[in-house]
Symmetry: C2
Subunit: 206 residues, 2 copies
DNA sequence: AAAAAATATTGAACGTGTTCATTTTTTGAG
DNA sequence: CTCAAAAAATGAACACGTTCAATATTTTTT
């Protein structure tokens, strides 16, 4: 039987991922020790390291799942064909932010972002960066869609503006996770205010 | 003599800071061990921890010095009273980016940012965040200055737009330090492209 | 100037992420 | 079925940031 090894492997992979996410959620990233994760998954510490490059990679796996779902939610917003730049943008960004704390705590986000910046060569870090780019692309797509439908001025560079707006969304999210006192509504309000002038200017028909 | 203790303290503080920045530059943040820093400064490991909360705090002290200088350079640009939004913005951002690698390597920046996100309650992290806000304020100031002089449309919210633009500048800098292959000219070109539509729209006299 | 109090220094010990030589398990050829 | 080679699992050992009880130094009090 040739699949025994592969099957065990997949099983352990799943058990480790499950144990890790459970512990991260329960006691926080820092307090979840590799030994505990390995114990809960029923493997040794060494085996953990056969499956994941390091502790950070483990967290990144969770983050990736989260962002994939956010991307899917974003696609729905673009499909809705709204007819106001500010409104459409707010809807899209709301989806991003609302979903953000479904699986991850602020602490987990902080750690993930921290790792992604601190160790950019890690495989999962690269995946995280790639996901960010897809989110950025989504904002660009929204603008282009609005432009095609005559809601955004023809002379606006949708990609440039989309990247600019998304980078602000992202940076504000970083501020959000850094500040335990800030809530999602406060975050949305700030970003909406920041977007307002650009949204208005983009809408002006020359 | 009452100043003996204070004098020794100041001296050790300086020696530790010097040793740390020297080692960070020479062998990188991760490879510079506390023991090495302490040795070079002529103190024990325990003493290091009496002076600095932890290794990250040490790095943040260096970063703070750097950003203070960038802020000073930025003020000069605002004083020059340029008469084109895109140009003025490019000048300001150039100052930021050009100065950025004077004292710090990309690795040091990554570590600093990583720490500032991962441990936001640390004193130096807070100081770092405060410096960021001052930079953001500086972009807002530039826009307001241009608006007063009739170069930016009267109906534009300079603070909102300034924050948006700065957050993009900041986010792009993060991408820059994450990517060892990217150079400052490439970074500037990207940001200029991203800013172009907003700069153009802001300039339109309605 | 001696003693007491306050403050600073020290380095061995600790905790936890990570590595790696050894052992165990699985595989497929003969 | 046997066995040698490949793959995977293991946990003790290691590295390094951090802590803290013991010691030393400086300041204040008497």
């Amino acid at each position: 039987m040739s699949g025994l090894r592969a099957q065990k492997k997949a099983d352990k992979n799943r058990r480790i991922l499950e144990a890790a996410t459970t512990l991260f959620r329960k006691v926080g990233y820092d307090s979840a020790r590799i030994e505990d994760i390995a114990d809960m998954a029923g493997v040794s510490v060494g085996t953990f390291y056969n499956y994941y490059k390091n502790k950070g990679d483990m967290l990144m796996a969770t983050v990736s799942m989260e962002v994939e779902e956010v991307l899917a939610a974003g696609d729905q917003v673009i499909g809705r064909e709204l007819d106001d730049v500010g409104k459409a943008l707010s809807e899209l960004i709301s989806k991003y932010y609302d979903h953000s704390l479904t699986y991850l705590s602020k602490e987990m986000w902080r750690t993930a972002m921290s790792l992604s910046i601190g160790q950019p060569e890690t495989p999962f870090s690269k995946r995280y960066t790639a996901l960010d780019h897809r989110l950025s692309k989504q904002v660009c797509d929204l603008f282009r869609s609005l432009q095609t439908r005559g809601i955004v001025r023809k002379d606006v560079d949708c990609d440039a503006t989309g990247e600019l707006v998304f980078n602000n969304v992202n940076m504000m999210f970083i501020e959000f996770v850094k500040d335990e006192d800030m809530d999602i509504d406060g975050l949305k309000a700030e970003v909406t205010r920041q977007n307002a002038p650009v949204a208005a200017l983009m809408s002006d028909v020359l």
